[in-house]
């Protein structure tokens, strides 16, 4: 193989030298210890446009205003801590680069919708996790355990691959208009996680999970608006998964 390296190196380095720019972060602040009202607050931040929105939030918290509060951990899109509404769309702050969201205009950042805001960008995640727990998100098997592993063909494994990627960030559920109007709706994330087991060839509780989702707050509430699929930072085809669950409910085949 030829050496693919030299000129690429320079290309990377050149863009890397790009100057810092000033970006306005417009953040929805709320702290009931201080006031019952939420307010928008602007913070100018010096930042390399190739940095993440999370880097901008850290700059504010670390250098300007330590009271700014948000959750985060891994900083590269795998822990699901930092879903927020950025310029009106649900995204992970650590997976959104400044340059990709038009830094010319103020970047608005607010808590995800449909869950109670507790402080700044932090929401109460309990109802979200409760819906997840309600769909029996674990493998259920009947009969004797084999001594070695259960066999599963690569094809059967592939069947539910997409929905195993979920990091429970709530970006989908909190972008769903049905969920905003009625917090009782299970929401896309719970259905995605039910899908992950319903279509696992090793599982024996598909019928039970389908019954749970056949409820008045179950899959039938979905209006196929695709907000969830657009919001998912893991690229999961959320709406498709919901459709597959609906179809399984009708045909009872999965």
């Amino acid at each position: 193989m030829a050496t693919p390296v030299m000129d690429k190196a320079e290309a990377t380095a050149k863009t890397d030298a790009s100057p810092y720019i000033t970006v306005t972060f417009r953040i929805r602040r709320f702290n009931p210890e201080v006031s019952e009202h939420a307010v928008w607050e602007d913070f100018p931040v010096e930042i390399d446009p190739k940095e993440r929105v999370l880097d901008g939030l850290h700059k504010i918290k670390w250098d300007v205003d330590g009271t700014l509060t948000f959750r985060r951990s891994c900083a590269h899109g795998i822990c699901g801590s930092d879903a927020m509404r950025i310029n009106g769309k649900n995204r992970l702050a650590c997976k959104t680069l400044i340059k990709d969201i038009n830094p010319e205009k103020p970047i608005t950042v607010e808590a995800i919708k449909g869950l109670t805001v507790l402080k700044d960008l932090v929401v109460d995640m309990e109802p979200f996790f409760q819906a997840y727990r309600d769909v029996m998100p674990f493998l259920v098997t009947k009969g004797n355990e084999p001594t070695r592993e259960r066999l599963q063909s690569a094809e059967d494994r592939e069947r539910f691959d997409d929905t195993t990627k979920c990091i429970l960030c709530a970006a989908c559920t909190s972008s769903c208009p049905v969920f905003w109007n009625d917090g009782q709706y299970f929401g896309p994330a719970a259905i995605v996680n039910a899908h992950r087991f319903i279509f696992d060839s090793r599982d024996d509780a598909g019928e039970q999970r389908l019954e749970i989702l056949n409820d008045k707050d179950g899959v039938w509430r979905c209006r196929t608006t695709f907000n969830c699929t657009d919001a998912c930072p893991r690229g999961i085809e959320v709406t498709k998964a919901i459709q597959e669950v609906k179809r399984a409910l009708i045909t009872r085949r999965f």
Partner: protein
């Protein structure tokens, strides 16, 4: 202040904590305290795989795995523990499969396996396929599967509870664990958890480095809580620098990328690992590859205008293979670097990755108060602990294994102990240390800022105690850390509130990092040899005569309140393998 009583309390809900919780909950009344929601734990970041000699795709056995672990750890591994790790690996993987983990499959439907650094056939003959994996998100699948099974078992979690102190009471001359003190993020309230058994599973401490694959929250809280109460920390000088972090960001690109055939190249396009490790090449042990990369960079063969990185080249691999086996890491390259790995090589540099050292335990997970005495009721497992199965350098895929094998063992051992033991009386005024810490920070008006001190700490650690160390650089770090610890006394926070005060907790976490950084640097200064992840340019050889022993660091407080690190040493357990020179 609230007081709770549980048989078993587990600190941390990563892989180790949840594996322990599944066992402990079946056997005792158990609470899991975790500063993150369980599924946010950094186990979810692990990519490459979990080692076990299943022999699903080629001949393999646990004895070869044991040997590789011992050799990979540069013979500082306790061989009895390594043997348990390798033997129980097989059931650990099968248990996860039965719990529902969606491993990649072979054409026969069995669990597929791939190559990983340092894992070999027949004592180093050739690479072997031992890593069980689920694409490049094995850790994610382990974390999800364990959480799912915790839901199934009804494990009781206290989410966003930060454990800040370990309670110890002396009973008839024996120091026993009495429980822990936790701070509730949502309310600022302090909780005492009285428990018969406590298991630390609070993960690593990588955030004292700047370029690291570790999460912001990996601040060594568990290590610090035990150390402050006079318990030792073992082998803290041994930290692993993973060869392939994304340049400047540190985000990990799994070794599985090289397992799939990826190649490291310098600015001339040369596959330089052939020079340093003729047999294992790009899949030599991590410390070897990281040093080779820096040698290339130092000798002027690094890439880019500053010559400060090398390339991970995947361009010769078919796109279908990248999509099927390495979807996440190729996406990282696209998202964070704007690079297309099908056609362009990825700029990488070594990244601070894994703490081999930690709270010393025996193979049941019982914490040691010195070289031999256990602390009744106290356990540790996972990255926070040092069993020691990783010695001076951990092999890839052995940590996901460690958290499952020793998480399970400690969960069983702790619950069985709790079934026979009584509650130990709480010390007088049990919350005092945490109240002092938290209220002190809230009230402080000093001029130092947490973010500035942390930045300086991270810079000094990267510059002085990373891949290459000398007496001079380590001393520089020791002095700088002492200065930072002095300045830390003058630190204040802006958020004085009770509710979700992450400003305050970042200050507490920095205190832990500073304490542990000092232990690491002092331990490194005294180890005048090179072994595994600890490489001293002024002592480039391994010295088995003087240093075939574990470091045990203790906190000493003088009459004037001054703090020092006292070092002692513990023998290495050697059973069947005699130390040999390590070649790959």
């Amino acid at each position: 202040m609230k007081i709770h009583k549980y048989d078993t309390v587990i600190v941390g809900a990563g892989g180790a904590g949840m594996r322990a919780a599944i066992e402990a909950t079946k056997r005792s009344r158990t609470a899991v305290l975790t500063k993150l929601y369980p599924t946010r734990s950094h186990t979810g970041a692990a990519q490459g795989g979990m080692a076990a000699a299943l022999a699903n795709v080629e001949e393999d056995n646990w004895e070869w795995h044991t040997f590789d672990t011992v050799k990979g750890g540069d013979y500082l591994v306790d061989q009895d523990a390594a043997e348990i790790l390798a033997k129980e690996a097989i059931d650990a993987v099968l248990d996860l499969e039965k719990m529902g983990l969606p491993f990649n499959r072979t054409p026969n439907g069995t669990i597929d396996q791939r190559r990983f650094g340092g894992h070999s056939r027949n004592h180093g003959e050739a690479p072997v396929r031992r890593s069980c994996y689920a694409a490049d998100r094995t850790g994610h699948m382990i974390l999800q599967t364990l959480y799912q099974n915790c839901v199934k078992e009804g494990v009781e979690f206290f989410n966003e509870f930060y454990v800040l102190d370990q309670l110890i009471t002396e009973v008839d001359g024996v120091r026993k664990s009495a429980g822990v003190v936790a701070y509730e993020l949502a309310t600022g309230e302090i909780h005492i958890f009285q428990a018969k058994a406590v298991i630390y599973a609070s993960g690593g401490t990588g955030k004292f480095f700047k370029v690291t694959s570790n999460a912001h929250t990996l601040t060594g809280d568990g290590q610090a809580a035990c150390y402050r109460r006079g318990l030792p920390l073992e082998d803290m000088e041994f930290f692993q620098f993973h060869p392939t972090g994304i340049w400047r960001m540190g985000i990990l690109l799994t070794e599985g990328a090289r397992g799939e055939g990826g190649i490291l190249r310098n600015k001339d396009g040369e596959r330089f690992m052939e020079k340093y490790a003729p047999v294992m090449k790009d899949l030599a042990s991590r410390d070897v590859v990281s040093r080779s990369i820096y040698t290339e960079i130092r000798e002027g063969r690094g890439c880019g205008p500053e010559g400060d990185h090398v390339f991970l080249d995947l361009t010769h691999l078919p796109p279908e293979q990248l999509d099927a086996k390495l979807p996440d890491i190729t996406e990282f390259a696209r998202t964070y670097l704007g690079i297309e790995p099908y056609t362009d090589p990825i700029p990488i540099q070594p990244t601070a990755h894994y703490a081999m050292g930690g709270i010393p335990t025996n193979v049941q997970g019982e914490v040691l108060a010195d070289n031999t005495t256990v602390v009744p009721g106290l356990y540790a497992a996972g990255e926070v602990a040092c069993v020691s199965v990783h010695g001076a350098n951990r092999l890839g895929t052995n940590s996901l294994l460690d958290i499952n094998v020793f998480g399970r063992r400690s969960g069983i051992a702790a619950a069985e102990y709790a079934a026979t033991a009584d509650f130990v009386e709480l010390p007088e005024d049990p919350a005092s240390l945490v109240v002092e810490m938290v209220e002190g920070l809230r009230a402080a008006t000093g001029s130092e800022r947490v973010s500035e001190l942390r930045r300086e700490l991270q810079e000094t650690m990267d510059a002085n105690v990373m891949v290459f160390r000398t007496e001079q650089t380590i001393k520089t770090a020791v002095e700088k850390i002492a200065e930072l610890r002095e300045r830390y006394k003058n630190v204040s926070v802006q958020d004085k509130g009770k509710r979700f005060n992450t400003d305050l907790l970042e200050a507490v976490e920095l205190g832990n990092l500073l304490e542990l950084a000092e232990v690491m640097a002092v331990s490194a200064l005294a180890r005048k040899e090179s072994r595994g992840g600890h490489y001293r340019e002024d002592y480039p050889n391994r010295d088995d005569v003087n240093f075939m022993r574990h470091t045990m660091a203790y906190r000493e407080v003088g009459d004037d309140g001054s703090e020092t690190v006292r070092l002692d040493y513990k023998p290495v357990v050697q059973t069947r393998y005699q130390p040999m020179e390590r070649k790959y």
